[in-house]
C-alpha cells in the first residue's frame, strides 16, 4: 500500500497546529502558511521541528538536502507545504508509511 500525501499533510499540519495552539496562534494553518513570517518561528525552531518530524514518523530524513533546496531560493521563509512535500518524498523513498 502506497503512502498518501494527504495523510502526510494531515500529520505535518496537525503537528504544526498542535504546536501553534500552545502559543495561541489563531490563524488557520495551511500548506501556504510560512513557518517564519506567519508563525514567527525562529531558526532554532526549524532545526528542532525537523527532529520532531523524524521522531514522529520514526524515519531518518535528509533534512540537509531539503534545506539545501530551499537555500537556493531568494525567499527568506519556508511554507508548511514544502515541509509536507519533503516528508512525503522521504517516506516514499524509504518505502514505508509510519502513519
Amino acid at each position: 500500500m502506497g503512502i498518501e500525501r494527504d495523510a502526510v499533510r494531515d500529520d505535518v499540519l496537525g503537528l504544526l497546529k498542535q504546536l501553534a495552539d500552545d502559543w495561541e496562534y489563531d490563524e488557520p494553518i495551511t500548506e501556504a502558511t510560512g513557518l517564519l513570517n506567519d508563525m514567527a518561528m525562529e531558526s532554532l525552531d526549524l532545526v528542532v521541528f525537523a527532529t520532531s518530524l523524524q521522531e514522529h514518523f520514526q524515519q531518518e530524513m535528509a533534512f540537509t538536502e531539503f534545506l539545501t533546496e530551499l537555500g537556493q531560493r531568494a525567499e527568506t521563509d519556508t511554507t508548511a507545504g514544502e515541509w509536507v512535500d519533503f516528508v512525503y518524498h522521504e517516506l516514499q523513498r524509504a518505502g514505508q508509511a509510519a502513519l
Partner: protein
C-alpha cells in the same frame, strides 16, 4: 511509590559562591544539607562545558566515549560544518535508562541533551536548547505537556529556551537590563519548581532529577555582583540592587530545594551537583585572530570584527565557513564555547589543507605558539595548557573532535571573531567556567559533616545509581564515593556491581557522514537565508 533520590543539578555552582551564601544565611536549607551530609569539590570534564559535563554526569562516561564535546559537533571528519546535538547523538546509555532497567522509574527535568525526550519509564521535560514554542515535543510521555498546561501558573515562554537571552549571558547587557534578567531567572526557576512539585505530588518516581540552570546564567553575566571577593567594588546604588536581586535568586533556589526535599521525604538521599565551577574572566583571547597573525588562518572580507573585549562571537556560530578563506586557512576555532581548534587536513575537498606528513609538526608549532601568547597588559601567559584530541578524545568520536582544546589561564572562553588585538582586557570581569564544581549529598546512609577530597564528575553517575538501589555497571568509568557513607550502612547496603554494558543502539560517527561537502555548503547558505546564521 517513594522518592529514593532527589537529584538537584545546579549548573555552574561553585563552593566559592555557595559557601559565603550559606554562611550569611541566604541558603539555610543548603547549609543544613551540608551539615548533615557530605561534600566534595567535583572536577568537571575538559572542556568544562555544559553539554559534555552534564552528559558525563548522565552517563558515567567521559566525552571520548559519549561523543558530546560542545553544543555542536562536526558533521563528519571531512566536513567544515557543525550540527546541533540532540539526545540521539549521545553515544552511550544514560543512567536514566540504566535505572529503568533496574526497575527504578525516573523524572528528568531541564537537563541538556534530552530532546527528543527519551522514552524512559517516568517523565522527561527537555532542557538545554529547547525552544519554548516546541516544549510539547520535549515532553515525555506525550500527554505530559497538556497536563502541565493545566497547572494554574504554567508559562512555557518563561520555562524554556530563548536564544536572545542566551547570547546576553555571555556577551553582556545594558545597566538597566541586569535586574529584569535576574528576575526572569527567578521566575524561570519557579516555573520549573511548579512542574517538579506537580509531578512529585501526583506520581513520584524513585529517581527525581531537576536541573536549575539559572545559576550558570547569572554567574556569567553578574559575576562581579555575586563574587564575594568583588563586593567592595560595588559602589553604585544600581549595582547594590543587582546584587540584592542575585541574592534573591539564590534564596529562591534554596526554597525550591527545601520544598522538594520535604516532598521527597526523609528517607530519600539528596544529591546536589554542578557540571563545573565558576570564576572571573579578566581578558579575552581572540584565538582566530592569533591564528591569522601566525599565518594559519586567512579572513575573507565577510569577517566579523570585535568592537570590544566582551565579544566572544556567539552570533558568529558557523560563520567560519564564509568568514575564512579556505584556500589559506589550515586551523580555525568554529565556536567560542568549547575552546577547540580544528585543523584542516589535505584531502580532495581541501587541497590546501595540511598534508598528512606535516600534520604533527604543524600541530606542535601551533601548541608552542599558543603557550607563548602573553597578555600585553600584565605579561601573564594567556594559555595554560593545550590538549590534543588524542589526549582527550581518543575513541570512536576522535576523528570529529577538536584537534586542540585550550585551557586559558583565567579559565575563560575564547573569542572566535576578528579583532584589532589578539588579547584585550575586559572592562569588567565576567563569570566563566572553572574546573571545580560541587558535590553535596545527605540522607540515606550519608555520614554527617564529611568532607571528601576532590571527586570526578564521572563518579556522580555511580552515586546516583547507588542512591536508587540500581547496580553499577562495569562500563561506567567513575567510582562510587564510598567514603560518603558509614561502614555500617555500606555493610547493610553493599553496592551492587553489574557486568552489563550499554545495550541500546547508539549514535555513530558514520551515521553523521551522510552529506557531501557541497551539500553542507548549500545547507549553510539555506540557514543564512533563513536567518539562522548571518
Amino acid at each position: 511509590m517513594t522518592v529514593k533520590c532527589l537529584f538537584i543539578g545546579l549548573d555552574g555552582a561553585t563552593f566559592d559562591v555557595l559557601d559565603p551564601l550559606m554562611a550569611r544565611g541566604a541558603m539555610p536549607f543548603l547549609a543544613s544539607v551540608v551539615e548533615r551530609g557530605g561534600r566534595a569539590p567535583l572536577r568537571s570534564t575538559i572542556p568544562a562545558l555544559t553539554p559534555p559535563a552534564w552528559t558525563t554526569l548522565m552517563t558515567g562516561r567521559a566525552p571520548a566515549a559519549h561523543g558530546i564535546f560542545d553544543f555542536f559537533r562536526r558533521e563528519s571528519k571531512e566536513s567544515l560544518q557543525f550540527s546541533f546535538l540532540t539526545s540521539r547523538d549521545i553515544g552511550v546509555e544514560t543512567i536514566w535508562q540504566r535505572a529503568n532497567r533496574a526497575g527504578q522509574r525516573v523524572t528528568v527535568l531541564n537537563f541538556p541533551l534530552t530532546f527528543p525526550a527519551p522514552p524512559v519509564d517516568g517523565y522527561v521535560v527537555a532542557g538545554g536548547w529547547m525552544p519554548w514554542r516546541q516544549l510539547r515535543s520535549g515532553c515525555h510521555p506525550k500527554t505530559l505537556y497538556d497536563e502541565l498546561k493545566r497547572l494554574p501558573d504554567f508559562n512555557p515562554r518563561t520555562l524554556a529556551m530563548d536564544m536572545s537571552h542566551e547570547e546576553k549571558a555571555l556577551e553582556g547587557c545594558e545597566q538597566e537590563d541586569y535586574e529584569p534578567w535576574v528576575a526572569l531567572h527567578i521566575e524561570r526557576e519557579r516555573q520549573w519548581h511548579g512542574v517538579a512539585r506537580h509531578l512529585m505530588t501526583t506520581d513520584p518516581t524513585e529517581m527525581f532529577a531537576l536541573l536549575m540552570d539559572g545559576v550558570d546564567k547569572l554567574q556569567h553575566l553578574c559575576w562581579r555582583f555575586i563574587d564575594p571577593a568583588m563586593a567592595d567594588q560595588l559602589t553604585e546604588p544600581w549595582e547594590a540592587r543587582v546584587r540584592d536581586r542575585c541574592l534573591d535568586y539564590f534564596r529562591t533556589v534554596d526554597e525550591i530545594i527545601a520544598d522538594l526535599a520535604g516532598l521527597a521525604g526523609e528517607e530519600a538521599m539528596i544529591v546536589i551537583a554542578s557540571d563545573h565551577g565558576f570564576g572571573p574572566q579578566v581578558r579575552t583571547f581572540f584565538v582566530n585572530q592569533w591564528l591569522a597573525e601566525a599565518g594559519y588562518l586567512a579572513w575573507t572580507d565577510k569577517r566579523q570584527s570585535a568592537t570590544e573585549a566582551t565579544t566572544l562571537g556567539i552570533a558568529s556560530l558557523a560563520k567560519h565557513t564564509f568568514q575564512m578563506d579556505w584556500t589559506r586557512t589550515v586551523a580555525y576555532a568554529p565556536m567560542p564555547s568549547g575552546n577547540g581548534i580544528h585543523l584542516v587536513r589535505q584531502d580532495e575537498a581541501h587541497p590546501h589543507g595540511i598534508p598528512a606528513e606535516a600534520l604533527a609538526a604543524v600541530r606542535q608549532r601551533i601548541i608552542e605558539g599558543l603557550l607563548a601568547v602573553r597578555d600585553p597588559h600584565t605579561g601573564e601567559a594567556v594559555v595554560d595548557r593545550v590538549w590534543t584530541r588524542a589526549q582527550l578524545f581518543a575513541g570512536p568520536w576522535e576523528q570529529i573532535a577538536p584537534d586542540l582544546t585550550l585551557e586559558l589561564s583565567d579559565g575563560g572562553l575564547i573569542s572566535i571573531v576578528a579583532a584589532d588585538a589578539v588579547v584585550m582586557p575586559r572592562p569588567q570581569p565576567t563569570g566563566t567556567h572553572a574546573p571545580l564544581g560541587v558535590l553535596i549529598a545527605a540522607g540515606a546512609g550519608v555520614q554527617e559533616g564529611v568532607t571528601l577530597p576532590e571527586k570526578q564528575i564521572v563518579d556522580s553517575a555511580s552515586l546516583l545509581l547507588y542512591a536508587v538501589d540500581a547496580p553499577i555497571p562495569a562500563d561506567l568509568e567513575g567510582e562510587l564515593p564510598t567514603h560518603l557513607f558509614s561502614a555500617a550502612w555500606l555493610e547493610r547496603n553493599p553496592p551492587q556491581q553489574s557486568d552489563e554494558v550499554g545495550v541500546q543502539p547508539v549514535a555513530t560517527v558514520e551515521k553523521e557522514a551522510l552529506f557531501t561537502e557541497e551539500e553542507q555548503s548549500e545547507m549553510l547558505r539555506h540557514l543564512q537565508a533563513l536567518g539562522y546564521v548571518e
